[in-house]
Subunit: 349 residues, 2 copies
């Protein structure tokens, strides 16, 4: 055909939130795969594992004993990448060798005392407890003068570098604003200064009209596969109200966030009938003491799987040296996620 068709022709898409591009190759989704196959674990775990350093009552590497917690539990990472007491200083050789001391804190959040659960297997009120803890942690850490950014995230599954299946997430909070939220600040600020509305409000409006990338909605949140998604089944959870951070969420909105996270992660698990691996995390305003009205709270989900439980997308050569690249279109992925049931495949068995 001689007119451009985004379901057929290679093209680049612009990430309005980060200012970067992704190469989309829709025609390529049919190529055969003879490469590495991932293992699928038989995910049979006990409710309590005496060797797990996250289970209630167990001893951690540092010698501390976990309390007999009944919903969530948070502590400082025994091997944190960031530590609070770092002498200031740095290196600068002609602007070419530059380093700066960085201080911060790394926290671990257990989502549940149950070793055998994951978010999609938890109840909405139990996930609401996790949301409440995020709010508490963001409040406390964000109030510290030495913390200007709080990154809340979860790595799920061994494929995503997670070394313990006990349901948990992390928080890395630090003095400087990391690159990804810094890029999003630039883009959101430019938009807000031009239009007086947040970039994601206007983006969400278009997506809700077009509908083809929307996966699920509730009263306060929308999940969609962003137009510029890099990972095959990447999604973004967007707050309908343009709030800057989780502390501004009303109790109803916190419930709604718990609801949408449960429904999204169930759909993910159902897609290939496995415990679906991903890295996910909230992006919120820097805690640098400024208001940041340009910031619009959202959560990214980056799952690595492409075609099945055993075939993942590799972000390698071209992607590391050039631009991220994807084969199936975001519209196709959104359709696949929309088709899924919201009854977890294990509960349905």
């Amino acid at each position: 055909s001689s007119t451009f068709d985004s379901t057929e022709h290679p093209h680049r898409r612009f990430n309005a939130l980060s200012g970067e591009w992704v190469l989309v190759s829709p025609h390529r989704s049919k190529r055969p795969w003879q490469g590495q196959q991932e293992e699928t674990e038989q995910d049979q775990r006990p409710a309590y594992d005496p060797t797990c350093y996250l289970c209630p009552g167990n001893v951690r590497v540092g010698g501390e004993v976990n309390p007999q917690y009944t919903d969530t539990f948070v502590f400082n990472n025994d091997f944190g990448a960031l530590t609070p007491d770092v002498p200031t200083g740095g290196i600068n050789e002609g602007g070419l060798l530059r380093a700066e001391a960085e201080s911060g804190v790394c926290r671990v959040i257990c989502f549940s005392p149950r070793h055998d659960l994951t978010l999609p297997q938890m109840t909405t009120p139990a996930i609401r407890n996790v949301v409440d803890l995020w709010v508490e942690e963001f409040t406390t850490l964000g109030a510290r003068p030495d913390i200007n950014y709080v990154q809340i995230f979860e790595n799920k599954g061994p494929m995503m570098g997670c070394s313990n299946p006990h349901p948990h997430g992390q928080i890395w909070a630090q003095r400087t604003v990391p690159g990804e939220p810094a890029k999003e600040t630039v883009q959101q600020l430019a938009y807000f200064q031009e239009y007086g509305r947040t970039l994601l409000s206007d983006y969400l409006k278009i997506e809700l009209e077009q509908k083809e990338r929307v996966v699920i909605e509730n009263e306060h949140f929308v999940v969609l596969v962003p137009f510029w998604a890099v990972w095959p089944f990447e999604t973004i959870v967007i707050a309908r109200r343009p709030v800057q951070d989780v502390t501004q969420l009303t109790p109803d909105e916190r419930d709604a966030l718990a609801d949408i996270l449960r429904r999204l992660t169930i759909r993910y698990d159902n897609l290939f009938s496995i415990s679906f691996p991903y890295s996910a995390g909230l992006h919120q305003r820097p805690t640098d003491g400024q208001e940041h009205p340009e910031w619009h709270l959202h959560m990214h989900f980056f799952p690595p799987l492409l075609r099945s439980a055993t075939v993942r997308k590799f972000m390698v050569g071209y992607e590391m040296l050039g631009d991220p690249q994807r084969d199936i279109t975001p519209e196709f992925s959104a359709g696949r996620l929309r088709e899924q049931s919201e009854v977890h495949y294990k509960a349905a068995q």
Copy 2:
């Protein structure tokens, strides 16, 4: 201690070439690893594999028959992510949903007719043939008015998404300049405009004085672990002469590039006594018809392994949402690579 020490304290390092930062956590290298272990393959392959679509004389998926090539062989990828004949066009919804048709060509380069070899097991003259092919391809593709960037790269090993062990690399050449070389253009241009010398010339000078990150040298190239390395054993191969692309290399320089690639990849294999996985690729000037005197030819090696043949670094949660992060310091990694022999462990057995 109360003074900043980059071998001990968490810090951020600036990537002068890309303008981005990496978080370095030297104190963290001692944490225990209980996560995913990679498989190490017994890498016993025949010199010719009748089922391999890259071996001489075999039939490819598209039905074409490979010639009985004796050194290198190049062809258009049967499932290329980029294709030449794409109708122009795009999408633009309020600057928020933006797409542009992209055209280009994807090529596959077989490094050798021998199915059982890899670069470190090839002779220097055989690697020189690969260098010559890179020059030819860069010349031909770069001369096309519809090609403004030529990305030459190799994905080695199943861990890097490589689906066929036959020694080969790829070229993706396209209309627009991808994000990574675009960032490097910005940084190199700013430096060149200020100092009248290439950024990498001055950087190389400092590294050759300090020596601690240098791995190997020959008359025309230096390999070092960059001050801002993200991957545990990442290296950069820098031309001593500030040339913009491979076509400017003299015959001696081409030989020297082959020599240094052989020696570097042998050291990589020897590090953990395995066929060392990586993605590697050349970064050169855009082929947009401009001279780009700011550009300085170099090659990146991005290997995923961290502690052993089975434990890799995962660039996941924090890295995807914040900044790349590393545990061991670039200086430590350079030392480990310097210690290695230049006799391949298989040849030594």
